[in-house]
């Protein structure tokens, strides 16, 4: 499973993307985030406030209960701020 990080989440975790293999019990977005927090102190810190973490599964917005699988591209990022003033 590929996990991508953007903006300050990328900076806090300290990496752009990583290939991970969570245990088989990790089948949802929420479970994946909880598992990612156990990978390092930086992960735990970056992901501690889930209200500012947005998730995309295969480039579509996803919710905590949505499922994730071994071949998915998961992206974690803060609320978007494109466009103009």
């Amino acid at each position: 499973m590929k996990v991508l990080y953007f903006a300050w989440l990328r900076q806090r975790v300290g990496c752009d993307q990583e290939e991970v293999t969570p245990p088989a019990s990790v089948t949802t977005v929420a479970a994946l985030i909880d598992w990612l927090k156990t990978r390092s102190a930086r992960h735990a810190e970056a992901l501690k406030d889930s209200s500012v973490v947005r998730v995309a599964v295969n480039q579509e917005y996803a919710r905590p209960g949505d499922s994730v699988g071994p071949n998915d591209e998961i992206a974690l990022f803060p609320p978007v701020t494109g466009g103009s003033a």
């Binding site: 903006a7 480039q59 579509e60 990022f77 803060p78 609320p79 978007v80 494109g82 466009g83």
Partner: protein, 150 residues
Amino acid sequence: MIRVQREDFDVGAEIEALTRDNPAIGGVASFIGLVRDVAGSDRVRAMTLEHYPGMTERQLAAIDEEARRRWPLDATLIIHRFGRLEPGDRIVLVVTASAHRQAALEACAFLIDWLKTKAPFWKNEETPHGARWVAARHEDDAAAARWQKP
């Protein structure tokens, strides 16, 4: 039409190319977003727009499709830049063309409101206090929510 690019764009040429040879078009609405030199009380020297290649194009295409479903549009264009930009630089261009002005105006406002809350871009500002990530604003969610169907 959707474009995500580092390069600047020529507003007049883009509008001309979009509407040329279609005399059914009666109204063309457009919106250009520019980098401002202030954010709150701080000077902004520059900003860098990070994005999620692939998902950006996909989200912009979905927003564009939604606008075309809601309004009778003859042509649409969304260009969003990424990379480092300075005050006065163009960030984004939205153009909508329709037989009637109301459809063009509404669809243009819809597109700019929605891409602000849906397109995966993040702004990092360079201020005298250092670099910082721009926080999402509640007003933007409210602006986008105006377009939610009941």
